[in-house]
Every structure is written in structure tokens, then in C-alpha cells.
């Protein structure tokens, strides 16, 4: 195997790599052993620490909290996609009075930390007489932030398309909305699908911020469990952490799978350079027919 960084290893390099492998193993084993030793020493493996997880009600509660997390994620994902489309189309507008304000708003939304947005919605709005449920504070804050990020991704996707796509759309008589809806956005979405899914993984992770503004989600329940008899802080964090990791890994794998699938698609203009021979016959015939007609007209 050759790479940018190293050549195919010779006998000396192989020996050195062997030594490095042993050193890495020793360091990693030492770190893991140290953590496990501290766990054992502070009695983290004792049955009393894990006792709460033997109750069915605890698991039912974890299920409820998981549902709350997923509820916030689902609503935030759908709403942020909708906002992303609106902001992206606004920013691509040909009218300056639409484009400039939308650009300013998008940049501001992207710059404000999600937690600050959540706190503005949850702690700030009551000052103005608007009371908001933690659920809506989480969902709306995630919608605002991720909507702006997705808008930038979609805009980048549209702008990366060859200009001929748009011109061809106008040439066959489509209006601005038609060119956007039928030609530009479908290609931009396909090109940006991995980015969009990666942003959805971020959205999923950021639902955990709801814990700070008292939204009853998984992490909030981990905190609650840690006050139970035996104070199983690490145990609760490990189990809830495992659930998060599994959820995010599933979404990430889905993203990878989707990326591979779209890359295999012959329709994707970013993988294979355009090959005229791949054009289907009908198109070529109609182009020829049009040219013939043009010549007839000239005569």
C-alpha cells in the first residue's frame, strides 16, 4: 500500500511500525486500565450503582425521554429544512431588496450559538410577555440555526451547478420559479445530500442542549437518575451516551450509504465528467431535428 505520507515499508520500516504498534497498544491499554482502575476503586461497578437500571419504570421513562428527544429532532429537522429552502431561495433572488436582508439574517442566525438562541426563546421572551414551552424553545432555536446552515449548503449547491443548466431552463421557456424548482434545486439537493444529512446529525446532537433549558429529554433524565440512591452519575451518563451514539451512528451510516448510492448514480454530474456519448438518442435526434428546421427556415 502506498500513500502520500509513506512508501511501501521495507524491513526497517516494518520493524519500526511494529514497535510503534506496541507503543500505541501499551499507551491505550494504560489509559483504559487507569480509567477502569479508578472505576473499580471508587466502586462504580458495585451492584448498588447499577440498581436503578433493574426497574422497568426507569426504562419506560428512558423510552419516554428518548421519544421526547426524537420528537424535538423530527420537528426541528422538518422545520429547518423548510426554513433552509426559504432562506436559500431568498438569497438567490435577483431582487436586491430580498437578497440583502435575507443574507444578513442568514449570517446572523449562523453566528449566534444555538444555546443562546434557546435561552433567548426560553428565558428572554417571557420579559416581552410571551411564555414558551421548553419544547418549542428547543425546536425553534434548532430550526433557526440549522435552517441558516442548510440554506448556505443549498445555495452553495445551486451555485456550483454549471450556468448552462439555468440558461437551458430559460431557453425552453420556463419561468424563474420553474427553473428553480424543476432544474436547479433537484440537482443542488442531490449534490448536497451528504451535507444535509450531516447537518441533521448535528441537529440530533444539539437536541441535548435542551437539557440546559430544562427540556425533559434523555440527558435531563440522566441528571435526574444521578440523584437516585447510589448516585449513579457515570452509569446514567454511560447508558444515555450509548443511546445517543447509536442514534447518531445510525444517521451517519445512513448518510454514508446515501453518499455512496448517489455517487454511483450516472445522473450525478460531480462524479463522472459529462460524457456526450451517454446522452440518450431521443435528445440527440431532437437536437438534430431542431437544427434541420433552423436551416429550412434560412432557405
Amino acid at each position: 500500500m502506498t500513500s502520500v505520507l509513506y512508501d511501501v515499508p521495507g524491513p526497517r520500516a516494518r520493524r519500526r511500525n511494529g514497535i510503534l504498534a506496541v507503543v500505541t497498544t501499551v499507551i491505550v491499554v494504560a489509559i483504559v486500565a487507569f480509567v477502569l482502575w479508578r472505576f473499580a476503586l471508587s466502586g462504580q461497578f458495585e451492584a448498588s450503582k447499577w440498581n436503578v437500571f433493574t426497574y422497568t419504570t426507569v426504562w419506560v421513562q428512558i423510552g419516554t425521554m428518548l421519544l421526547n428527544t426524537l420528537k424535538a429532532f423530527a420537528a426541528a429537522a422538518v422545520l429547518s429544512l423548510a426554513l433552509g429552502f426559504v432562506l436559500a431561495i431568498g438569497r438567490l433572488s435577483e431582487h436586491k431588496w430580498v437578497r440583502v436582508p435575507v443574507a444578513v439574517v442568514t449570517e446572523a442566525f449562523r453566528a449566534i450559538p444555538v444555546l443562546v438562541l434557546m435561552m433567548i426563546l426560553y428565558y428572554g421572551l417571557p420579559t416581552l410577555g410571551v411564555k414558551m414551552e421548553p419544547y418549542w424553545a428547543v425546536v425553534l432555536a434548532l430550526m433557526i440555526y440549522n435552517g441558516a446552515v442548510l440554506a448556505e449548503a443549498l445555495r452553495a449547491g445551486v451555485e456550483s451547478l454549471p450556468r448552462g443548466q439555468k440558461e437551458a431552463g430559460y431557453a425552453i421557456g420556463l419561468r424563474k420559479s420553474g427553473v428553480m424548482m424543476l432544474i436547479l434545486l433537484p440537482q443542488a439537493i442531490r449534490a448536497m445530500l451528504p451535507v444535509i444529512i450531516a447537518q441533521l446529525v448535528v441537529t440530533m446532537k444539539d437536541t441535548a442542549l435542551g437539557f440546559i433549558i430544562t427540556y425533559h429529554e434523555l440527558l435531563y433524565y440522566a441528571k435526574l437518575l444521578s440523584t437516585q440512591p447510589g448516585r449513579p452519575i457515570l452509569q446514567a451518563a454511560l447508558i444515555i451516551g450509548g443511546i445517543y451514539i447509536v442514534m447518531c451512528l445510525l444517521l451517519s451510516w445512513f448518510a454514508n450509504w446515501l453518499e455512496k448510492r448517489t455517487h454511483r448514480s450516472p445522473k450525478n454530474p460531480y462524479v463522472a465528467p459529462h460524457d456526450p456519448a451517454a446522452d440518450d438518442d431521443a435528445t440527440m435526434t431532437s437536437v438534430l431535428a431542431t437544427q434541420d428546421l433552423g436551416q429550412v427556415g434560412k432557405q
Partner: protein, 225 residues
């Protein structure tokens, strides 16, 4: 709660708190960033190394931490650490470690992606003219990788700056904590909304500054190539 005459009272009557807020935010930002850069470079190097075990450990670390919410990493460090009966560390130190460990995965991925942008032929050509490993790295591969790494690395740093706010949820006196400090005291002026809007404005300004820096660096390196 007493209300001040002007809108700026929330700043000037609470100047001590704002100074503390900016101090802690920068503290978490710089030291978290330092840990992230050092640890991220090590993990990134592991992920591109010729040693399979190092690659596997690096991949495991990146995949585990990247799929854990930052809030949960904080939870582990700030609440979990005390359960291990180790020497006492302040929440701020633990928070810095949490944000460093979390951001290191993004630094590692950025570095790895940067090295992967250098075509293999570059290194092969360098080896073909007889350059030793050190010179292949320092003269050919790393200068090219560096240029493609700078813009995404700045994005990671901008994200790190925004992530410092999460520390407020764990009692570390970064900006958003001002809101609860001011609300809980009955003598300080300012409504939660005023405080939080100022915090948001500060972050917009800081992010704009870093974005400007990112564009400047990006343009400089692009010309050099």
C-alpha cells in the same frame, strides 16, 4: 428588579460581570483550542499512520466522540469526574478538557482530509528524485496540505467559539451565565432578554471577525499556490 434609565445600563452597571464573562469565554476558547489542536494533531497523525492499531484507535476515538453531543461530553467530565475520587479540579478546568476532547475530533478529521487532498503523485515524484521522508513531508506534502487545511480549520475554531456557551450550562462563568446571575440578583439592572441579546450581538461580532480572518488567510494561501 430595578430598571435603569437607558438601554446600556445592562452593560455599564454590570461591567464586572461582563468582564468576567469575556475572561472565562476567552479562557475556555484558548485553552480548549490548545488541547483540541494538540490532541487533534496526535489523533489525526494516528489516523493516517502506517500502523493499523494506531489507525483503529484513532478511528474509534473520532467516531465515538463525534457522535456524542457536546453537552454529554461536558456531563461526563464535569459531573462524572468527581465520582472517580480523583484530585479535585474546578469545573472550569474540567469544562476546558471536555471542549478540548470534543473539538480534537474535528481537528483530526480536518487534518486528515487536508493530507488526503495532496495527490499521491506529488509524494511519489518527491521520492523518485531521492528526497528522504523528512524532506518529502516538509518540502512537498505538508505545505500543500496546510493550504487546504486552513479554511476548514478556521471553521472548526469558529464552532469552538460558539460551543464555549455550552459551558454555561455547567456553572462555568462564560457569557450566557450572566443571564441567570443578573436575574437571580435583585439589585442588578437588565432583563434576561436584554442580557441575552447583547450576548448574541457579541457572538455575531466575534464570529464576523473570525470569518474575516478566515477569508483573508484563504485568499493569501490561494494566491501562493
Amino acid at each position: 428588579m430595578t430598571r435603569g434609565e437607558g438601554r446600556v445600563d445592562v452593560i455599564f452597571e454590570n461591567l464586572d460581570l461582563w468582564r468576567q464573562g469575556i475572561g472565562f469565554t476567552l479562557l475556555v476558547f484558548f485553552f480548549g483550542g490548545l488541547i483540541a489542536l494538540v490532541l487533534g494533531t496526535i489523533v489525526g497523525a494516528m489516523r493516517v499512520s502506517p500502523v493499523p492499531i494506531a489507525r483503529a484507535v484513532g478511528t474509534l476515538y473520532v467516531n465515538l466522540i463525534r457522535n456524542t453531543p457536546l453537552t454529554l461530553v461536558f456531563f461526563f467530565f464535569v459531573f462524572g469526574y468527581s465520582a472517580l475520587a480523583l484530585p479535585n479540579l474546578s469545573n472550569t478546568v474540567l469544562g476546558i478538557m471536555a471542549i478540548g476532547v470534543y473539538t480534537a475530533t474535528y481537528v483530526a478529521e480536518t487534518l486528515r482530509a487536508g493530507i488526503n487532498t495532496v495527490p499521491v503523485g506529488q509524494a511519489e515524484a518527491a521520492r523518485a528524485i531521492g528526497l528522504p521522508f523528512g524532506q518529502v513531508m516538509s518540502l512537498v506534502v505538508l505545505p500543500q496540505a496546510f493550504r487546504s487545511v486552513v479554511p476548514p480549520l478556521m471553521s472548526v475554531i469558529i464552532a469552538l467559539l460558539k460551543n464555549t456557551t455550552v459551558a454555561a450550562g455547567f456553572g462555568i462563568a462564560v457569557f450566557p451565565l450572566l443571564q441567570s446571575t443578573i436575574s437571580n440578583s435583585h439589585t442588578r439592572p437588565g432583563t434576561p432578554m436584554e442580557v441575552l441579546l447583547w450576548v448574541a450581538a457579541i457572538f455575531v461580532a466575534l464570529v464576523m471577525l473570525l470569518t474575516w480572518l478566515q477569508r483573508t488567510l484563504e485568499n493569501r494561501w490561494r494566491i501562493a499556490r
